[in-house]
């Protein structure tokens, strides 16, 4: 297993844990002997001093055993927790280095589970293996050996009972596993009906569909109950059957033991000991098979972790050689791109575009026309399938990623804020920015006003990804963050959609004034937002169908005219 290498640094702990476990187990195994001594020699022999002495000895061994047990817990803890920390750290690092194609494929939700729940699962498995597995193996082997030393004939009992027991456990587990999968999927349907009703309560009520939803839920509920019952009734079989096997073996020991005693080959005490050991052995095998079950489950987690660890980042750092002067130009040459998951046609086909330094360029098009995909290629969130993207005249693949992303600033469609203060969030753009710089950036982004009105101003905490802020406020904060970065190319990916036109216009004016010489690429929905740009690129179904200024496009570009009509014409005259 690939994860094995992570356990290596903790090998001493891995070895020490079972070793101290041996101490605990042997102290445990000593107990019956000492007990029988108290009873046989102390109580029956009326030796009061012996009772006290043996009692104290017993307590000592118990305390020693407890110490060994604790030490074993300590070593196992060190090993499993250290192991899981290393796996976790590598995993997170790997995830951070993945490209978006790859994270999209995994989906964020599943990545989060992999880093958290799955790592916890394998951590517990390691702990389990080190302690439980070893303990049971010792108990099991020890028990078998002890029994055989008592009488060879008991070996037959083990030889018969053991495979039968193992077989039954395996059979039941094999039947149960698919049932567990059914339970999981039925649980999903119950949850999804519930989820839909919680989020869609208005529609359910508006269409007076409560009864229908109740029926739908009842269907899912019955399905789940049925599946649960099936698996639980199957599992209810396990322990009684195992008990019967164990108890009948005990009876066999007594019977065979009786003959041995008769033949004077054995003492009663030994028969009783044999019963104890037999119970121990059969109990051990049950525990071991249960552990295999746990391991099977943990191995699913391990598989999911390995999948991430095995994913080599597609987007690799360029060699980052010294790249000429920073000019702020972007060039697309015959770029074609399709999302790996969508089997259909490419999102962008054969795009050629030259963005000049310091130019103010806009990209317009219907939803799904490929606007976002186009700009996402500039900071290499995605790589083109065909053709090349150049920044400052150099293919982005050859630039160092950090260098490239320092040159390119992008404000995303969905504002992503982090749990930190407002100032800290803005300072992401430049770690060592002074307070003045932060405020200045906020002012350009038209954010200073509302931030100052917040209870703690720039020191206000942003909780739950900015849930308490309006969409427009979040957008302005992300814009401030990007402005503070002072990139040579600044991209707005539909990131002013929640601002009203007045604020947006002020923002634009301020940008033009303060960030002279910065290349600005804007994706927008509203023509009013982009009318005044130097050039407007019109995208339609992944192709550029127009690229010129507003007036020229209005004359020559059908799609642009269409969009214009849908927005401007109706309101042109009065305003």
């Amino acid at each position: 297993m690939k994860l094995a290498k992570y356990i290596k640094p903790y090998l001493p702990f891995v070895l020490l844990a079972p070793l101290s476990m041996v101490g605990e187990v042997s102290m445990d195994l000593l107990q019956p002997k000492l007990m029988s001594k108290i009873v046989d020699d102390g109580v029956l022999g009326s030796d009061y001093g012996l009772i006290i002495r043996t009692g104290i000895l017993m307590l000592c061994t118990v305390i020693f055993g407890a110490l060994c047990g604790s030490a074993s817990a300590f070593f196992a803890g060190c090993a499993s927790q250290g192991f899981s920390r290393d796996v976790r750290n590598d995993l997170f690092k790997r995830v951070m280095g993945l490209s978006f194609q790859q994270t999209d494929k995994f989906t964020t939700g599943s990545l989060v589970t992999r880093i958290t729940a799955d790592v916890t699962a394998i951590q517990q498995m390691v702990d389990f293996l080190i302690r439980g597995f070893v303990r049971n193996i010792i108990m099991f082997i020890g028990g078998v050996i002890m029994m055989l030393t008592l009488a060879r004939s008991f070996g037959t009992i083990i030889a018969v009972a053991l495979p039968v027991e193992a077989l039954i456990v395996i059979l039941i587990m094999r039947k149960a596993n698919p049932l567990y999968a059914i339970v999981a999927s039925r649980l999903d349907s119950v949850n999804s009906v519930m989820q839909e009703n919680v989020t869609g309560a208005r529609v359910v009520k508006a269409y007076v569909r409560e009864k229908h939803e109740q029926e739908r839920f009842e269907g899912a509920n019955m399905g789940l109950t049925e599946a649960n019952l099936k698996v639980q009734e199957l599992m209810a079989l396990l322990s009684p059957v195992l008990m019967v096997i164990m108890n009948f073996s005990v009876m066999a020991v007594i019977y065979i033991g009786g003959w041995q005693v008769q033949a004077k080959e054995m003492k009663v005490g030994e028969v009783m000991a044999a019963i104890t050991y037999l119970t121990q052995v059969l109990h051990g095998i049950m525990m071991i098979s249960m552990m295999f079950q746990t391991m099977a489950r943990a191995s699913a987690s391990a598989k999911r972790i390995n999948e991430v660890l095995d994913t080599e980042p597609v987007i690799r750092d360029g060699n980052g050689g010294d790249i000429g002067t920073k000019k702020g130009t972007v060039t697309f040459r015959g770029v074609t791109f399709a999302y790996p998951e969508s089997s259909g046609e490419p999102v962008l086909t054969d795009i050629d575009l030259d963005v000049r330094a310091g130019e103010n360029i806009a990209i317009l098009g219907a939803t799904g026309s490929g606007k976002s995909s186009l700009v996402n290629m500039i900071p290499r969130f995605y790589d083109a399938d065909k053709g090349e993207v150049l920044v400052d005249g150099v293919n982005v693949r050859e630039l160092g990623l950090e260098d490239l992303r320092r040159r390119v600033g992008i404000v995303l469609q969905k504002s992503e804020l982090f749990s930190a203060t407002v100032a800290e969030n803005i300072r992401w753009g430049k770690d060592d920015a002074t307070d003045e710089e932060v405020i200045a950036a906020a002012k350009i982004a038209q954010a200073d006003e509302f931030i100052s009105r917040m209870p703690d101003g720039y020191d206000s905490m942003i909780a739950e990804k900015g849930a308490s802020l309006s969409g427009g406020q979040k957008q302005r904060m992300s814009i401030a963050r990007a402005i503070l970065k002072k990139p040579e190319i600044l991209i707005f990916d539909d990131s002013t959609s929640a601002l009203d036109l007045g604020t947006e216009a002020k923002l634009r004016a301020k940008l033009r004034e303060e960030l002279k010489g910065t290349t600005v690429i804007t994706i927008a929905q509203r023509i009013a937002s982009v009318k005044s740009c130097d050039r407007i690129v019109v995208l339609d179904r992944g192709r550029i169908v127009g690229c010129d200024n507003h007036d020229a496009l209005l004359k020559n570009c059908e799609v642009y005219k269409d969009i214009y009509d849908s927005q401007i014409k109706t309101q042109g005259d009065e305003a």
């Binding site: 109580v43 029956l44 009772i51 017993m58 118990v62 055993g65 407890a66 047990g69 604790s70 817990a73 300590f74 196992a76 803890g77 927790q81 997170f92 951070m96 280095g97 978006f100 994270t103 964020t108 989060v112 729940a117 916890t120 649980l187 999804s192 919680v198 869609g200 309560a201 208005r202 529609v203 009520k205 508006a206 007076v208 569909r209 229908h212 109740q214 509920n221 789940l224 649960n228 019952l229 209810a236 009684p240 059957v241 008990m243 019967v244 108890n247 005990v250 009876m251 007594i254 019977y255 005693v261 008769q262 009663v268 999911r304 900071p379 992303r405 992401w428 036109l501 007045g502 305003a575």
Partner: protein, 611 residues
């Protein structure tokens, strides 16, 4: 690959005991909740009492088995007086023993079946009732509670109860029976020695509750750090694009490593804590054994008891400590379950929507004349939203409601559909106060298309039919055609039978919107509400939906809330809400000419400063 949880039964925290420790929380009113929970369990009386009887049998068999085994051993014990094994007798006893063992297993199996049925039946009824009450809750409840919280009642809380009923009840009953049985037997032997062995029980309970508390603290701390770490991962993974575009990967990894190491350190401590528990209990158990041996020896020396009694005591005191331990363990589980049950009952006991309508009016009779009279309303007493709103809408009119964000546009919709009730004033439809109408009739007469399209798991067809369950296929297709949805539906692999993913995520925004419109068209309501219905669609697509919208609004009283001019311009009347009242109303041209607040709004919101 689908993200499959590693184990369906323990989702977050494998290791039942750990989970119980972390989640263990004190219910507020345990006795009352327990009573209600028991009433639920009591609904399956036969199962419950059956289970009790089975547990009694198991306990008796459990007490009898070692006794018979002892006789069997005695049978093969040889001493001076007895020189050979009585094989015949041994076989007889072994047969009896075998029967007892068999019965024990049979009853154990029955116990498994009974507790599975009992727990599943209880939980399934509970889930059904919870859901039944949930759909009747007022919208206010959904608006004021986090959806995740509501969901977790259905999932985690119900799960906890199910586990407790299936596991805890059984082991609790058998535990109590065993303890009581053992105590009675011990008392008949020697009350004094019983007292001594009970003292270790007190010690066990004391130490294990103390330890549990101590452990809980560590596990809680571990849980908090784990929560922090999860939060960080979530934030960084969902915000990955931003992290990457600011080249913050390294910083994120460093922060993560710090938390990860903190988690390791606390994890080790918590684990040691848990690891010590077993040996410690072992210690106390053996201490008890020494006590019995020592005192018993002394008593027998004095001639108060026999040696056999000591042996019996040793046996029973061993039988004793296991269930006591178990009961202590179950205590935390039961507490968690009761706390969960409390949250579930809380939902169930939340007042449902009241429907006191007595009016005979049905959805078919309604013509669609709406009147708001002096409506006052607030979500939060501090911030009144509507302050004396008056509005008169004629049958078949097309009304556009505009206003700044937070001015109360959506509130008007919430009141008309009785998602909320006004604090004062009255709303009438066709002259009848809507509070006098039957709620379902009122709602059947109103169709709404919301900004966030709600689609349900199922086929396209079923989703359109949501508005009218019994509509024939032709009607569904006609409605879709009217909504301009027919074309794209036909292109889907299975046409109208295409299954939607959860929330309709396999459709585009515009397509989802068209489905919602088709749904409203099919429902054919007299009153139509469009609440920002096209805001998530780009303007060009909107133009294409426009004809569908016009078709939809035909012959109906329509209320349109929109922020796009194109949708508003053609309205029969535009109503501007400002300061909780109607500030202006009239047609577009009139209002523009008036240069009042509509004009201002229009300039800032729709046209923008023309730069």
């Amino acid at each position: 690959m689908p993200p499959m949880p590693p184990n369906p039964n323990n989702k977050q925290q494998p290791g039942g005991r750990q989970a119980a420790l972390i989640n263990a929380e004190k219910p507020k009113n345990a006795r009352e909740t327990l009573g209600k929970l028991l009433r639920y369990i009591g609904r399956s009386k036969y199962l419950f009492f059956g289970l009790m009887a089975i547990m009694l049998m198991i306990t008796l068999l459990g007490l009898a088995a070692p006794y018979i085994q002892q006789i069997a051993i005695d049978c093969i014990t040889l001493d001076d007086k007895k020189l050979s094994v009585d094989t015949e007798r041994l076989v007889k006893i072994l047969i009896i023993l075998g029967v007892v063992y068999l019965m024990n297993s049979v009853f154990s199996y029955l116990q498994g079946i009974f507790s599975a049925r009992l727990s599943q039946k209880t939980v399934s009824t509970m889930r059904r009732d919870l859901f039944g009450d949930l759909v009747k809750l007022p919208i206010k409840y959904f608006d004021s509670h986090r959806h995740g919280d509501i969901m977790s009642r259905m999932t985690n809380d119900v799960e906890n109860i199910s586990n407790t009923v299936s596991q805890s009840i059984g082991s609790l009953i058998s535990g109590v029976l065993t303890v009581v049985g053992s105590i009675i037997i011990m008392l008949t032997y020697s009350p004094l020695l019983t007292l001594i062995s009970l003292s270790t029980v007190v010690l066990t309970v004391f130490v294990s509750t103390k330890m549990t508390k101590y452990m809980r603290r560590y596990f809680l701390k571990q849980q908090i750090i784990l929560g922090k770490l999860n939060g960080h991962v979530e934030e960084m993974v969902t915000g990955h694009r931003t992290v990457v575009s600011y080249s913050k990967e390294q910083a994120a990894v460093e922060d993560f490593n710090v938390m990860s190491d903190e988690l390791r350190r606390t994890g080790i401590r918590a684990q040691i804590c848990a690891g010590v528990m077993g040996p410690l209990m072992n210690c106390i158990g053996n201490f008890g054994f020494v006590m019995i041996a020592a005192f018993g020896g002394w008593f027998s020396y004095k001639g108060w008891i026999t040696v056999g009694t000591i042996q019996a005591f040793i046996l029973y005191s061993k039988q004793f400590s296991r269930p006591i331990n178990e009961i202590v363990n179950q205590y935390a589980n039961i507490q968690t379950a009761i706390a969960g049950a409390e949250r579930i009952f809380e939902v169930m006991e939340t007042a449902p929507e009241t429907d006191e309508g007595t009016s005979e009016i049905t959805a078919e009779d309604i013509r669609g004349e709406i009147k708001f009279e002096d409506i006052h309303f607030c979500y939060d007493p501090e911030k009144p939203v509507l302050k004396g709103l008056d509005l008169d809408i004629k049958q078949g009119q097309k009304i556009a409601i505009v206003g700044a964000t937070g001015s109360g546009k959506t509130t008007v919709v919430n009141l008309l559909t009785r998602f909320y009730d006004a604090d004062s004033g009255s709303i009438t439809v066709d002259g009848v106060d809507i509070r006098d109408m039957r709620m379902d009739e009122l709602r059947k007469s109103v169709g709404i298309v919301l900004q966030d399209t709600v689609l349900f798991k199922g086929s396209i067809e079923e989703n359109i039919r949501y508005g009218k369950e019994d509509a024939p296929d032709e009607d569904v297709r006609r409605a879709a055609a009217h909504a301009n949805a027919d074309a794209f539906i036909k292109h889907l692999p299975d046409g109208y039978k295409t299954q939607l993913a959860e929330g309709g995520s396999n459709l585009s925004q515009g397509q989802r919107q068209l489905l919602a419109i088709a749904r409203a068209i099919l429902a054919d309501p007299k009153i139509l509400i469009l609440d920002e219905a096209t805001s998530s669609v780009d303007t060009r697509t909107e133009m294409h939906i426009q004809s569908a919208m016009v078709a939809l609004m035909k012959n109906r009283t329509s209320l349109i809330i929109a922020h796009r001019l194109s949708t508003i311009r053609d309205a029969d009347m535009i109503v501007v809400i400002d300061g909780g009242k109607v500030a202006e109303k009239g047609r577009h041209d009139e209002l523009i000419a008036k240069k009042g607040c509509y004009y201002d709004l229009y300039r800032t919101q729709f046209a923008g400063n023309k730069t």
